[in-house]
């Protein structure tokens, strides 16, 4: 009984520490500099080298549960693209994320005074990403005869002469699902377009091998990657602030691991003696 009580107290104490480590840094000024990793820099450089008017395809696949980590990436990349006067072709291949992605596209477009249909197009959602990715490789109109707002794709000025992946400069999939694998296997593997991925921090280590093989030309990993991109475009946002919170929380977790191991070693030594 005493053990259970101690465990409950210990758990509550840990929860309280985590709560404080998230809350307190939110009210502090975050440091503005993050070390930029080569895998993020290469995405920035590639987009930066594009000519005005070229099309960047943003394949966003995440829902509100992942928004804290993924949305800063989308917003930072959109800001960079609009600053360079690039055009955006977006899809949202997760059912729960369609409206979220639409709101982010609208928000950044309004910030830069971009016009729907001319500067950006949102194709929306169709089920089964693997099939949709393959179908878009033949013609965007196959899975999406109409855009998200039910306007025929052929009536959108930006889509004139834009048939498939061959007509976009690069594809960046901002993805918190297994969809990245589909993009690599069914998209890049078959249609050979330049592909980069933005994934959650937990997922990112899975994709380093594709980076080295050249199947991905860049990788933005987690909130850290988003903060790096915000630094590259010189516009600190929620990722830069979030990174500070994450820094402190990581320290607390590492501290907890060390304390836990200290107690474990002490217990072993006591048992032996």
């Amino acid at each position: 009984m005493a053990d259970i009580k101690a465990m409950l107290f210990e758990r509550r104490l840990i929860y309280f520490l985590i709560f404080l480590s998230v809350l307190i840094p939110l009210f502090m000024e975050p440091p503005k500099t993050v070390r930029v990793t080569p895998e993020v820099e290469v995405v920035y450089d590639r987009i930066d080298s594009l000519k005005p008017g070229e099309i960047v395809m943003l394949a966003c696949e995440y829902d509100p549960s992942m928004s804290a980590e993924m949305s800063p990436m989308t917003i930072a990349v959109l800001r960079h693209c609009y600053r360079k006067n690039l055009r955006i072709l977006a899809t949202g291949l997760t059912s729960n994320g369609v409206s979220l992605i639409e709101s982010e596209l609208k928000q950044v477009a309004e910030e830069f005074g971009k016009v729907y249909g001319v500067d950006y197009v949102y194709l929306g959602y169709k089920p089964y990403p693997g099939i949709v990715i393959m179908a878009m490789g033949e013609d965007f109109r196959n899975p999406f005869p109409n855009d998200y707002y039910n306007t025929p794709v052929d009536e959108l000025p930006m889509m004139k002469g834009v048939k498939n992946y061959q007509n976009v400069a690069l594809v960046l999939t901002v993805n918190s699902t297994s969809g990245i694998d589909y993009w690599i296997t069914y998209g890049q593997g078959r249609y050979k377009f330049p592909l980069a991925a933005a994934a959650t921090a937990v997922m990112a280590p899975n994709y380093y091998n594709y980076l080295q093989s050249g199947q991905l030309f860049g990788l933005i990993g987690g909130l850290r990657g988003a903060a790096e991109y915000e630094q590259l475009i010189d516009t600190p946002g929620s990722a830069t602030r979030g990174m500070f919170v994450q820094s402190v929380t990581h320290m607390v977790i590492v501290g907890l691991i060390l304390v836990g191991n200290g107690i474990f070693v002490y217990g072993r030594l006591r048992k032996r003696s």
Binding site: T33, T37, S65, S103, I131, A135, V248, F264
Partner: protein, 205 residues
């Protein structure tokens, strides 16, 4: 014939799609596009099947008064509410579906559920991340290095930890992931071949 016909369809379609990949001809492309259209149509039917199965399962739970059956009412009400608001008001950012269903309910619920993970991870790390064996110690040290090396505060406190973290991700992690990926790829190809040749037929069970 009931079992033979699906096997023949699987064999012919599987072989055609595999060969088609290597034939850059107009007819081959047309065949591929038609196959993709079929896939999309079949996929859309399976959504209807999924919803029907979900409703039926929850209905059975309520009927049998199984443990937690009241949650089935919540699930069915949520499903009905989201479908109705979506169908009636549309799903654009100005719609009732978006303001009430999406921003008001779905976003906070899913975000809260995910945010709770931070607390569980911290508690689990304190309890389970123990240096009991050599392997466990290697895992523990690697995890601490990556955790510290991926945040700016860690980089500043411990010089060189960022490079150690990058090395762990780019060398041992990549080697392991590559081995897993190659294994999965070979396994997937073997299974696909078995299905196409009719040696295994999970779709007929």
């Amino acid at each position: 014939m009931q079992r033979e016909l699906p096997r023949i369809i699987t064999l012919v379609t599987g072989l055609f799609l595999a060969i088609q990949y290597f034939i850059p001809h107009r007819y081959s492309e047309q065949f591929y596009e038609t196959a993709l259209d079929w896939l999309i149509i079949i996929g859309i039917f399976s959504i209807a099947l999924g919803v029907a199965s979900l409703v039926n399962h929850q209905r059975q739970k309520i009927k049998r008064r199984e443990e937690g059956f009241r949650f089935s009412y919540v699930l069915l009400a949520g499903l009905l509410f989201m479908c109705l608001t979506g169908f009636i008001t549309g799903s654009g950012t100005d719609s009732l579906f978006y303001r009430w269903g999406y921003v008001g309910i779905l976003s906070p619920i899913t975000s809260t559920m995910f945010a709770l993970l931070a607390f569980y991870i911290a508690s689990a790390a304190f309890r389970a991340f123990r240096a009991r064996t050599v392997i466990a110690t290697i895992l523990l040290v690697s995890a601490v290095i990556v955790m510290m090396g991926r945040v700016p505060l860690g980089e500043r406190l411990i010089p060189g930890i960022a490079h150690a973290s990058d090395w762990l991700l780019n060398v041992p992690n990549m080697a392991a992931k590559r081995a897993i990926a190659i294994g999965l790829g070979l396994g997937g190809s073997a299974t696909a071949l078995k299905v196409v040749l009719g040696i295994e037929a999970p779709h007929l069970r």
